[in-house]
Subunit: 164 residues, 2 copies
């Protein structure tokens, strides 16, 4: 069958958000919030030419989420949906995905902004954001229709932390 995949974090994400409760539910709600990535110094060579990009895609471990729910009522709605039709953190594999703004690279430190990530989050990958690869025009967005604007102001409560 499908073998487990073991990953080693490449660094730590530092942000002003010391707990998951009260942080923006999407990066678009964390505009101008600044933080850093402390990359493993042994990997700093891999950052060459990163400073040409304005935005990065971060893949990270949602390390404060415990428990999996297949049906959730997400932050942006008051009705339940299948977990894979939401961006909620209580996923079978707790992988977070955020497109953040790159402010600068200084050795093994990456300065970033527009954050919806809790301090101390283990980082798994950094990819350059390229609209020609990552954007799709005229996408249908299911239950998010009419609700995405809420992501600019909605803050997380504790519903996905320490779930049974």
């Amino acid at each position: 069958m499908l073998e487990p995949v073991t990953l080693r974090p490449i660094g730590t994400i530092r942000t002003p958000f010391t707990e998951t409760t009260g942080i923006p539910v999407q990066a678009v709600g964390g505009v101008r919030i600044e933080g850093t990535i402390e990359l493993d110094p042994e990997l700093a060579e891999g950052l060459a030419d990163l400073d040409g990009f304005s935005h990065l895609i971060l893949v990270y471990h949602l390390h404060q989420v415990s428990g999996v729910r297949l049906t959730v009522t997400p932050f942006l709605d008051d009705r339940p949906h299948g977990i894979f039709a939401t961006r909620s953190p209580a996923r079978p594999n707790p992988l977070g995905l955020s497109t953040v703004r790159l402010l600068g690279v200084d050795g093994a430190t990456i300065h970033i902004a527009d954050l919806d990530i809790v301090d101390g989050t283990p980082l798994l990958d950094v990819k350059p954001y390229v609209p020609a690869f990552d954007d799709r025009a005229d996408a249908r967005i299911g239950w998010f229709e009419g609700k995405v604007e809420r992501a600019r102001t909605t803050l997380a409560d504790g519903r996905f932390r320490n779930t049974p």
Copy 2:
């Protein structure tokens, strides 16, 4: 220090691409290529309401890549760049990211199109694609400038497979 993260694949991606050599280097190069996701049937409940979306973000294990390179010459350029400034697969954590088109959901089977993924790839997560969260206007794209159109026609060679 940073503890390893162990993930269990949630399913398998089935595509017409039986080997990594010769497949599109980005999903935009695999337009109309169709495949399926065979989700673990125990997780099928989590697909409720997914059919309202036109596009999905897939996070998957680049299981045929071996070896990490911190500096690579990517498929779309003839000059080397830091691995984190590329979308090349020989990353410290071999995580793939593709935005694909959703054709339909049938039980635990998800029909998808616009693929740049090799057959048998272990799937780690499915997220709904939401432009308001995932798109950034006016992004600067570093060395990709003037090269993204090549992604529609460039096919992968074997350079990231079985690397030393």
